[in-house]
Amino acid sequence: MRQTILVADDDRDIRELVVFKLEQSGYGVIEAEDGAAALEAARLHRPDLCVLDVMMPGLSGVEVIRELRRDRDCADVKVILLTARAQEADVETGFSVGADDYVVKPFSPRELVSRVQAVLARSSA
């Protein structure tokens, strides 16, 4: 069965690029343009993995992970944070709230797909 990925980023160019690349790689993709929409979509569609921007209006990517981890139905969803915040403390925060991987902007779309594949492979192993 085709795996589903939720992509949330308020930057339209980046969001569409990531969606395009993931669809090209054979995934089903759902889009959200802010944190609240991402949380709602995650609860509704239960994706296999979320690619979340950290700095989004309303709920940040970190806050979305916190909410997901509190929700019994979504607690196990895999999450990759995509962000321009590259400092050690930011990465540490991302992992401490339960992110499975952390990709720093500027990023390579090709590498992002490899990370998605790796996280999903780990979860099904």
Binding site: L17, K21, V97
Partner: protein, 358 residues
């Protein structure tokens, strides 16, 4: 003319001016919105082709798609150009190389080079943005020149662009901007962090600058960028710098980049005769350093009369793993004083909360 008439006339003139200004702002915003919509309409049909070429893994297919895409009309390229310029700073790898090729083939790069000498500050700032996104060492000299632009906004854009360019030659000129105040230290810090390891030699050299803020920024960036090779220089800064602020930042940095040999410098910084702020930060940094040799000192510091020092000693012990938390537990079970027991308990509780949060 009476005073009240003059006042009324002045009020009417101010109101009229404000009304005209308000209308002007609304009209300008509407025009900008219209322009954005018009651009989006023009770009919309070729967006899929742009996304396809940026996500294509096969070089031959990518080259073919790129040539087809670049056959677009000049008006279409002008509408697409801002998107390409923005994406240049957000992507890397093949996608970045493709964007760069697009910008070069369509003359964007050449135009940006010419625009750095424009009269308008907006044009110069946009040009700097594009040139920085290229990540090309050939544009470093141009960007360094823009660090001394007459417009402060252009100088900031140039600093950010230099950070993105990845060329370590940009580090020293950026650091000198802190000294003369031409670019805010926070902007320079972020740009230097983005430069990464390449900036290390310039940062180390800046530790001897006469300007306090330059030394403070340099030592902080060395810590944040994990420059382990500069640990000795940071240690010297902690011991010898005449500025308390620089020494505090050096202690924090040493916690991140220090090695086993850095332990003594941090232990010395926690001693009673040292400034309180330095003692508190050094205590915390001992936890970041991760050397269990710090445990006896940190245990003693739990009883320190300065709350920040004792509290940070507790946090540092909690950061030292099992050995540290065992020490905290012993301090709770058999406290040498009420104060040390309370700080140990607080540190353990916080560590548990952090664990629950994860």
């Amino acid at each position: 003319m009476t005073t009240s008439t003059a006042l009324l006339l002045a009020l009417a003139a101010i109101s009229a001016f404000l009304a005209v200004l308000g209308i002007g702002i609304v009209v300008a915003r509407a025009a900008r919105h219209q322009s954005t919509l018009r651009r989006a309409t023009i770009v919309s049909p070729i967006r899929p082709a742009l996304l396809r070429v940026l996500t294509e893994d096969d070089p031959a297919a990518r080259a073919e798609q790129l040539s087809a895409l670049l056959e677009m009309a000049d008006s279409t390229w002008r509408a697409l150009e801002p998107t390409v310029a923005e994406l240049l700073g957000k992507l890397r790898g093949d996608a970045h190389a493709t964007l760069r090729e697009m910008a070069e083939r369509q003359g964007t790069v050449e135009r940006a080079r010419r625009r750095v000498d424009r009269l308008g500050a907006v044009g110069r700032a946009r040009a700097a943005e594009v040139l920085g996104g290229l990540e090309d060492p050939d544009v470093t000299d141009t960007l360094v020149r823009l660090l001394h632009d007459r417009d402060p906004e252009v100088r900031q854009v140039a600093a950010r662009a230099l950070g993105r360019s990845g060329d370590p030659r940009g580090a020293a000129p950026m650091l000198s901007c802190i000294q003369d105040g031409s670019v805010p230290a926070r902007v320079v810090s972020q740009a230097l962090l983005r430069l990464g390891a390449g900036a290390q030699p310039a940062l180390v050299a800046s530790l001897d600058m006469p300007d306090e803020l330059s030394r403070a920024v340099a030592v902080e960036i060395l810590g944040l960028s994990g420059a382990a090779g500069a640990a000795r220089n940071v240690e010297r800064c902690l011991r010898e710098d005449p500025s308390r602020e620089v020494r505090i930042r050096a202690a924090r940095a040493l916690g991140k980049v220090g090695t086993r040999s850095s332990l003594d410098a941090l232990l010395d910084a926690t001693e009673a005769g040292q400034p309180v702020g330095l003692r508190a930060v050094a205590a915390r940094a001992l936890g970041d350093l991760g050397h269990t040799g710090a445990i006896p000192r940190l245990l003693a510091l739990l009883d320190d009369p300065v709350h920040r020092v004792a509290s940070n000693a507790g946090r540092a012990l909690a950061a030292l793993g099992r050995a540290g938390t065992d020490t905290l537990q012993e301090a709770v079970d058999a406290p040498v004083s009420e104060l040390s027991g309370a700080h140990a308990l607080e540190a353990l509780a916080r560590a548990q909360l952090v664990g629950l949060g994860a």
